[in-house]
């Protein structure tokens, strides 16, 4: 018995609709985040993440309604990220029914917010997302820098030192995205994942670059056996596009010795 490595599908939501529809057989409405979340839940998702990319304040209420309707029907942990700037935003999202919030730019702008959220709601409710890019694409020994605003703004901060600071301030988990690999389908930046896993004592969720099931396995495999050593894998495209179901992914991982949760029939 050991704690399972988690598979977390991520849905981008804009104005209450999934931006890139989920190609699932038998889905009533591929653009409805609640329907998509239910489908992933049935398929064995260990958690579900909504990333809200809505720009306007009015659309916030639509998101909260989506969160509440999802929480009524989906009984796995639900994380919501995007556009969280203050404790009031966190409060509204958790009260709507999410279990965790994920913050990124706000943590860079106001690091004390991390302490404040952890103190008020507990570390388990806080995921800090870090978007990291190599200083030198060909040489991981040069390290990684933290970017914000979808990779447009370089903060100049060192990603490993930042992960460490976020852990010390109260992050419960680190969601680590490689900007070099995101969207490429070439696999995780395994050096980055390993470096952060070795640096912090909290769970690390690997993200960015998954194109095959073998990539998932590499990211989750222990460091001692050449993998990234991540605790969880967040993925979007590989599941949304119907390339693979979560059930398939778990069977693949199980066959290769990665402990994953079996779904109750």
């Amino acid at each position: 018995m050991t704690v399972a490595r988690r598979l977390i599908p991520c849905l981008d939501v804009k104005n209450g609709r999934v931006v890139k529809g989920v190609q699932f057989v038998g889905l009533r409405d591929a653009g409805d985040p609640v329907d998509c979340a239910r489908a992933y839940d049935r398929d064995g998702a260990d958690e579900i993440t909504f990333l809200d990319i809505t720009a306007t304040h009015e659309a916030r209420d639509i998101l909260l309604d989506v969160v509440a309707r999802t929480a009524d029907q989906v009984f796995v942990p639900l994380t919501v990220g995007g556009g969280i700037r203050a404790r009031a935003d966190v409060d509204a999202i958790l009260r709507a029914g999410a279990d965790k919030v994920s913050i990124n730019s706000a943590a860079v702008k106001t690091p004390e917010l991390v302490n404040e959220i952890a103190d008020a709601y507990g570390r388990q409710a806080l995921v800090v997302a870090i978007d990291a890019r190599r200083r030198d694409a060909a040489d991981p020994s040069k390290g990684w820098e933290v970017f914000t605003h979808g990779g447009r703004v370089n903060t100049g901060r060192d990603a490993l030192a930042w992960a460490d600071e976020m852990h010390r301030r109260g992050a419960g988990e680190i969601l680590l995205t490689s900007m070099d690999r995101d969207g490429t389908g070439r696999g995780y930046d395994l050096e980055l994942v390993r470096a952060v896993v070795e640096r912090v004592a909290i769970p690390v969720i690997a993200s960015g670059g998954v194109g095959t099931l073998a990539h998932l396995e590499e990211g989750l495999r222990p460091i001692a056996r050449g993998g990234g050593g991540a605790d969880a894998a967040l993925a979007a495209t590989i599941f949304h596009d119907g390339l693979h179901t979560l059930t398939e992914a778990k069977a693949f991982l199980r066959e290769r010795g990665v402990p994953v949760r079996a779904t109750t029939p």
Partner: protein, 220 residues
């Protein structure tokens, strides 16, 4: 509709995540087991309940203080209910609170229904691959069921956990299930109509709803 059945009291200790538990209980009830859910920290609501559910997330010390509100009347109502073998489900801190005390908050007492303490996971453990065993224990883990838990918990089922402390009962016959995180630990206790679980059935998908349903089915 459900007026004929004594209500379910979801005890509000002011410590969050009540809505998740309420949602999961409603989903597990369906129509056939529907009964009113009263969310309250009032000792009177506990006294008249057919089933008392104590959820809880957060710190043991805060939980201990919340139980002592109303001059200790809430704590008394809960222990009376349990001593009468009333139907009871404790979740996470709601399990830990049944014991005498916790290393998390040394000067603060629990309900003391059972002898034993709440202890922290050992620091610095490594698994077979040399990876560190992380605290809190967060995520899905499997349970190994003992005789006391066999009628409500399925052997090998996966449940969702988030905790740094676990109960250590003096009386091993209370153990309903165990799990493993660097070390083996007790993740459920049961006695008569009481069940306490360290994991979160409200976040454990079908395995969790099944467990809640079995608890509900037993309540007259």
């Amino acid at each position: 509709m459900s007026a004929a059945r004594p209500h379910l009291c979801l005890v509000d200790l002011g410590m969050g995540n009540l809505r998740s538990v309420e949602r999961a209980l409603r989903a597990a009830m369906g129509d056939d087991l529907a009964r009113d859910i009263v969310v309250s920290g009032d000792p009177g609501a506990v006294r008249d309940a057919g089933l008392v559910v104590v959820p809880g997330q957060g710190a043991f010390g805060d939980c201990s203080l919340a139980l002592q509100r109303h001059g200790g009347a809430l704590a008394r109502a809960l222990t009376d209910h349990i001593e009468r073998d009333g139907h009871f489900l404790g979740i996470c801190l709601g399990l830990q609170a049944l014991f005498e005390g916790s290393d998390e908050a040394p000067g603060r007492g629990g309900l003391g229904v059972f002898r034993g303490r709440v202890r922290r996971f050992q620091d610095g453990l490594r698994d077979a691959d040399g990876a560190r065993v992380k605290i809190p224990h967060m995520g899905w883990n499997q349970v190994s069921v003992s005789p006391a838990g066999a009628h409500r918990i399925d052997e090998g089922a996966w449940f969702y956990f988030v905790h740094s402390f676990h109960v250590v009962p003096d009386d091993r016959s209370l153990v309903a299930a165990e799990s493993e995180h660097g070390e083996r630990f007790v993740c459920a206790v049961a006695k008569g109509n009481l069940l306490g679980v360290q994991f979160h059935p409200e976040k454990s998908q079908r395995a969790g709803l099944t467990l809640l349903r079995r608890v509900l089915e037993a309540v007259p």
